[in-house]
């Protein structure tokens, strides 16, 4: 397999695909800095005027604010409900496990347009005013399976012996969860929450149906795209690309730091078990 002639086609396709994946994004970012309003070559020089124009636009600001609120609410709720759900499924009796896991996985299987119209008629049926609230609820449904998959995989990988030790030493179920299970998981849960935040922040397909008069950032871009080809769309797009890139790099560095810390700890293996024993041994300290 390591022969020099092998894999030429694969190599060519891979690099062509990278160009295909990045060329559109690079062009968008490039023209966000264009000094003229034209979105075609030749490129006439750099300027920040479209960034200034975007930040001065009240519609943009309110859309950004709405998106941040919705994504924060959706991600925080998903963190709490999703963690509990994943814990429940991974510790449930074998008979309950399958159906429960399927329930939490189900929303991911439906195309967005389907979920969008179902939620729309449901909200109207319930006389719920379409607003940021309905957007946030819809986003929770949409992002929850992604969070659940990550959290459940992590829970299943935990060593059940630690929880058993804690229980044998007299810790109540809630104490076991809070003081033994969660401390081992929170880095992964935080990562999954960041993923939920990003998915919500970028969601359009469902949001379009349930937004009513409220505008999130993708809805704002959609409106702009409909009207004209306008350099401010490039600015908003570039900000979105930059924002998710920054979040991703942060997560990457964070994971690398954790990994280094974990491998440093490996020289003294019993620490996790020891802390579990300590936790369970001193339940009075818990409150």
């Amino acid at each position: 397999m390591r022969s020099q002639s092998g894999g030429r086609i694969q190599t060519a396709v891979t690099f062509a695909a990278l160009v295909f994946l990045f060329a559109p994004l690079i062009v968008v970012v490039l023209f966000s800095f264009h000094s003229s309003g034209s979105l075609s070559f030749p490129f006439e020089g750099f300027s920040l005027r479209w960034y200034r124009a975007t930040f001065e636009s009240p519609q943009f600001r309110s859309a950004l604010e709405n998106s941040l609120i919705v994504a924060a609410v959706a991600a925080a709720t998903t963190l709490v409900l999703g963690t509990l759900a994943a814990y429940g499924v991974s510790r449930a009796s074998p008979r309950l496990k399958g159906p429960l896991a399927l329930t939490f996985f189900l929303p991911i299987t439906l195309p967005g347009v389907f979920l969008g119209v179902a939620l729309l008629i449901y909200y109207v049926r319930l006389d719920l005013q379409l607003s940021l609230t309905t957007i946030a609820i819809s986003h929770m449904v949409y992002v929850s399976p992604y969070f659940f998959i990550v959290a459940r995989t992590a829970m299943d990988r935990l060593d059940p012996a630690l929880e058993e030790v804690a229980r044998d030493l007299g810790a109540r179920p809630v104490e076991v969860f809070v003081r033994v299970t969660l401390p081992q998981l929170w880095p992964i849960l935080l990562g999954a929450t960041a993923l939920a935040f990003m998915l919500s922040f970028d969601e359009f397909v469902i949001t379009f149906f349930v937004a009513g008069g409220d505008t999130t950032l993708p809805v704002f871009i959609f409106g702009q795209m409909r009207r004209t080809v306008d350099p401010t769309i490039n600015v908003v797009s570039s900000l979105l690309i930059g924002g998710s890139l920054a979040l991703w790099i942060m997560a990457f560095i964070y994971a690398a730091v954790l990994q280094r810390r974990a491998s440093a700890k490996k020289t003294e293996p019993p620490t996790a078990a020891a802390s579990a024993v300590q936790t369970a041994g001193a339940p009075a300290e818990a409150r």
Binding site: L18, L84, V117
Partner: protein
């Protein structure tokens, strides 16, 4: 009597922790879907539905003039986008697995990063990329390949397939890359030592062992792309109807909720049928489970 005593009496297992989330999904996922199902059997008003129950929505949807064209278009574009994504994805995934060497992490990261670009941004990007004065035409012109701009690229099936492939490709690469992991290079080396050329190795070793993940990547992409309603709006030519767009128009423009609901469930049924057929096909060909020997 405090909560934990009640819990112990009712003999809640730890599975009870799932209850709040499950309740949330029953109220805001299952109930909406059931409501939509009920609506598909009701009589449509404008942005409303009423009794009596009827099957006429399904009837009318199937026989409506626009439906056949939209279905044909959706299937065509979905198959094209999914097909291109899977073929290219296979090439990338096998490169990552067998040839990338030190570049593996860099290229994998780049593919994940491209995934984080906003959905709408990708669609918008192709609009400014493929236009008469867009980047693609500029490059072609500078290289002397064409003398006047290629104008068929934008507002066409080509543009829609480009954007849909762009959206689907990173997912496909990740699925297939994961599927390649158990396929140790030793298997392929053994085939090579026994005289199998590159094509034979693909046809007789790689594709059969990867049939199940390839099938699910293809179907997932097909569902994702053929139900899309934004891409055809912005990049498709006039009259480029697709099923997703038809559903959207029924709900937000025409206000014909019952018909829209019927179309939604017909579409969903079709997707389900695809999955069933694929599952059966894999089982009959005995390709659904691969035992990895050591």
């Amino acid at each position: 009597m405090n909560a934990s005593v009640i819990a112990r009496r009712l003999r809640f297992g730890p599975g009870a922790a799932s209850a709040p989330g499950a309740l949330g999904l029953i109220v805001f996922f299952l109930a909406p879907v059931v409501t939509l199902l009920v609506y598909s059997f009701l009589t449509s008003g404008r942005f409303s539905v009423a009794r009596p129950f009827t099957l006429s929505n399904y009837d009318a949807t199937i026989s409506a003039a626009g439906t056949a064209g939209a279905v044909r278009n959706s299937v065509l574009l979905g198959v094209l986008a999914a097909g291109v994504a899977v073929v290219v994805g296979l090439a990338i995934a096998s490169w990552l697995r067998y040839y990338a060497g030190r570049l593996q992490n860099v290229v994998l990261s780049m593919i994940i990063i491209s995934m984080f670009a906003s959905y709408l941004v990708r669609i918008y990007a192709f609009r400014i990329l493929l236009g008469d004065e867009g980047a693609v035409n500029t490059v072609l012109d500078t290289l002397g390949i064409v003398s006047e701009p290629v104008s068929w690229m934008l507002f066409s099936r080509f543009a829609v397939v480009c954007a849909l492939t762009h959206i689907a490709l990173p997912y496909v690469v990740l699925i297939l890359y994961g599927a390649f992991r158990p396929l140790d290079p030793a298997y392929l080396e053994a085939a090579q030592d026994l005289g199998a050329g590159a094509l034979t190795r693909w046809v007789r070793v790689i594709l059969p062992t990867m049939a199940a993940p390839i099938g699910s990547a293809f179907l997932m992409t097909f569902v994702l792309t053929s139900a899309d309603y934004v891409t055809p709006q912005f990049l498709g030519g006039t009259g480029q109807q697709m099923v997703g767009l038809l559903i959207q128009t029924n709900f937000t423009v025409a206000g014909d909720w019952a018909r829209g609901a019927a179309l939604s469930f017909l579409t969903l049924g079709a997707y389900l049928l695809c999955y069933v057929i694929m599952g059966l096909g894999l089982r009959i060909a005995k390709l659904n489970t691969i035992r990895w020997g050591t």
